[in-house]
């Protein structure tokens, strides 16, 4: 009788999680940054390979206006998929992205306090900043910075953005990209990301495994190269059409012209390219060519986005 009771109790109180659950980690970091005047944004609803591609980073870092934002961004890297069988590699991992524009002088301290906030004792762990200059050729973006290592594990990419969409940035934004999955695994002391406690009662495996299995299978085994390529061409053509129309525009139509729509199409190209790459359907030569095509769109979007903003502001000035 007593034993049964004990068992019942165990069921009701799931095992105590060492370290934060995955969702508490996310919530804690979001709260930490919103308290430091960041806008809390949502993940972008188009497939992206990194938080940088979210318009809240790609477009916000352009131009002079200050901005601070934090958001989680599930990031799809089709070539990194392992059907959910590898303890560390994922088709889709979760980044937590922070943009601080302009970069504050105490930015490293702010970042380090966020680690303390999720339970990392900085005096007991080896936290270091090792040179790693980040570059995204498809976005015409690069920056100078480090990977942050926690006891030898890369947990964050810390970058002072120098260029985005091929444009020199002024002021300079800092981009912090946390790898949430691996941080959670570390905090919980588990070797396999699928063993991470997502919530008190659910594991990462229970929440995400089918996604990993099916999307790995899709991009490695099922995706039809010809039709994927066709989709790439269609999206690219539509984006180019929009951008060339924008060049001809005058007057009030400028303000509501969908540069954002062109950017979404550019993101779709980027994802389709990643699918083709994972499928092994791209030769090395072709690869460079496709990257250049995406980059061309991204650069045009960045320029037009700034031009649009300036024209709208100028017009508002005239009206005032």
């Amino acid at each position: 009788m007593a034993r049964t009771e004990k068992n019942e109790k165990k069921k009701l109180n799931p095992p105590k999680v060492k370290g934060l659950t995955f969702q508490d980690l996310l919530l804690t970091l979001e709260e930490y940054w919103t308290k430091r005047d960041c806008v809390l944004q949502q993940p972008y609803d188009v497939e992206v390979g990194a938080g940088t591609m979210h318009p809240e980073t790609f477009l916000r870092v352009l131009g002079p206006d200050p901005y601070r934002v934090v958001y989680a961004q599930p990031s799809r890297r089709p070539a990194d998929g392992r059907y959910g069988e590898n303890p560390n590699r994922l088709y889709k991992h979760t980044q937590l992205q922070v943009i601080l524009k302009p970069s504050p002088a105490n930015v490293q301290d702010l970042y380090l306090s966020s680690l303390a906030a999720v339970g990392i004792n900085l005096k007991e762990h080896d936290v270091r900043f090792e040179e790693d200059n980040w570059e995204a050729p498809t976005l015409g973006a690069w920056g100078i910075g480090w990977q942050v290592l926690l006891d030898g594990l890369e947990i964050t990419q810390f970058t002072y953005f120098q260029q985005c969409g091929g444009l020199d940035l002024n002021p300079v934004s800092v981009e912090l990209t946390y790898g949430l999955d691996r941080i959670a695994a570390y905090l919980q002391g588990v070797d396999n990301v699928f063993d991470v406690r997502w919530s008190k009662s659910m594991t990462y495996r229970q929440v995400r495994l089918p996604e990993e299995q099916q999307f790995s299978a899709y991009s490695f085994d099922y995706a039809d190269a010809a039709s994927t390529r066709k989709q790439f061409d269609l999206n690219e053509a539509e984006a180019s059409r929009l951008l060339s129309e924008f060049a001809k525009l005058k007057g009030d139509a400028i303000e509501r012209f969908p540069i954002l729509g062109a950017y979404d199409l550019c993101l779709k190209c980027s994802h389709l390219f990643n699918v083709l790459d994972a499928r092994g359907a791209i030769s090395v030569t072709e690869r460079a060519g496709m990257i250049a095509r995406i980059r061309k769109l991204a650069i045009q979007v960045a320029q037009d986005w700034l031009a649009q903003r300036e024209m709208v502001q100028a017009a508002a000035g005239v009206r005032a």
Binding site: P87, E124, D126
Partner: protein
Amino acid sequence: MKANVKVKGELLLEIGCEEIPAGMIQMAEQELKALLAKHLTAARLVDEPTVENSIETFGAPRRLVAIARNVRLKQEDVTREVVGPPKAIAYDSEGKPTRAAMSFSEKQSLPVEKLLLISTPKGEYLAARQSIAGEPARAVLARALPECIRELSWPRSMYWTTADTPRFIRPIRWIVAVLDGAVIPFAYADIRSGNRTDGHRFLGKKGIAVTAASDYESKLKKNFVLCRPDTRQKKIESEIRALTSRRSLRIHEDAELLNLVTYLNEYPTVISGDFDSAFLALPDEILITVMRGHQKYFAVEKRAGELAPHFLAVINLPSDPKGLVRAGHERVLRARFADARFFWDSDQKVPLDAYVPKLATVTYERRLGSYGDKVERVRTLARWLAEQWFNRGMTQADVTGSDRAAELAKCDLVTEMVREFPELQGAVGGLYARAQGEPDSIAWAVYDHYKPLGMDDPLPRNLTGCTVALADKLDSLVACFGVGIVPTGSSDPFALRRAAMGIVKIILERRLPVSISAMISAAAKALKENPPRINLSAETEAQTVAFLLERARFYLREKGGFSYDEINAVFASGADDLCDAADRVAAVKAIRYSKDFAPLAASFKRIRNILEKSAGKDDKGQVAVNPELLADGSEVELHVTSQRIREKVAANKRDRKYKVALEEISKLRPAVDKFFDGVLVMVEDRAVRKNRIALLASLLKEFSTIADFSELGSDEAK
């Protein structure tokens, strides 16, 4: 009392930064020292000859530091003479100052009476003596130090706030600038200089006030920063010893890694960790690369040399009492090793040669086709080279083995393992080949074929490896030259200088009998007969040969220790067979300063001058010496002696006994000396003159086949 006024003091400059890349700090230390020396000298704050000795610079991840001792606290006053117009123009015939003198006086702000006359080599001039009062050093340095910081050059600098501020390698967050205990006030990149520094990022205090080098170092040490790299390195080395020696272990020596971790940490401490010995089934190269590359761990070996299941990590903390850091590192390494094991297994689900077709999808160079194309060319060349060795009696030459090794050499480029660890290219292919039962000679040839990577890097360990390495480098060189990719200045994207050096080194150190020009022609032929079927012009072929020979000269100078003129003399007589040329250079070096040889070499130079002078006079043309026309006794003697010696020289040369041959040649000296003492070459009688010129010409020609001695003595680059 006045004698006790302090005139010199100590300067402390610290540029406090966010983490500077470890590989860049040493260069910055040196540059900062040179810049500070330059500025202190220009500002007349130090004595020039000792300036370098009185400045120390050092760095750590978050700081670059300079200490200058014996810096004057005030610039010395100086007087300077400014020269004006000549006396004749400055004063009229009556000795009164002219308008020229007046205007000079005005410009110098000195009344005419205070001007003086000085004598110069060009005559007497009006001059003004200006005295310039020295400024306090603090004011001078407030201008000079920002310049020092600005002038530091970095491989890739950045902005961190706005684009109108200075660039630096990483954001500057504080500046300490103190002279003789007091702050030198300036601002740079929106940072005001001061006397406060920061300790260790997590364990030290911030804003620690310092007054001089001595309390700077001790206060930082208390705050867990060892600011001097040699202190840090010694700490690391002694902790490595402590952790390994008592377990009869040692680290896999890695000086570069030691230097890197010295500059990656402000307070380095070595901890040891373990891994599952099951991973030791993977090859050592892979385990070491995984530990070293990403993780910067030292691999640990047993005394016998095999890897032990431990690693040493250098952390930026004084200790790891709870083992938390160790557990973290072990966990990361476990995952990395698991990845490597996954690649090892999955790459080998198919045999290595199954990757050959995939190479067709990897571009080598746009105009030069894919790696698949390159492999075909390298195979052709490897076979050709192996045939050369075989035909010259090298029985271990293996034509089919070289071909097979060349076929497999590039396969690992498309494996997961090399994609993850590019520095293991070659090694991975070799290891896979061996694991899959290829003969050892072929597996090692694949493994080694990128070698030698520099002048001091070892050669491939067997002949087949040398053959494939040569073929690969030859193809790179000839193919790139064929499409106009020629190294210029610092631009050499395909590392062709290194490839050419590798070719020279392999040929010379392995003593391979091959003609350079034939080798280049064979590579050109392979390029023409295989895709992309590019035709090399005779000019380009000659250019490629010349490029290779230039590397050979460089190698003989730097590695062989020969001088310019020795190499020039030998190369002037041909260097198509490099090993033979190297032997001749050695013979020339051995004999050039001997009693008879040196004067003889001078005589050869004289002969060449005579021949060059006579070149325009229609005195040449006659090739054979006509003994009947030999009039003078010394002339006859030279002719006879030279014929006798010629045969001995020829015999020794055939046997490649160059030193003996040169000793024979030096026996010509008495006859040559006598000839020049007793005979005039440029006589009136045309027939005699032409005959004498023919005699000299044949002498020069016949005895210059080992080296052109007339080149000796002009010790300079050609």
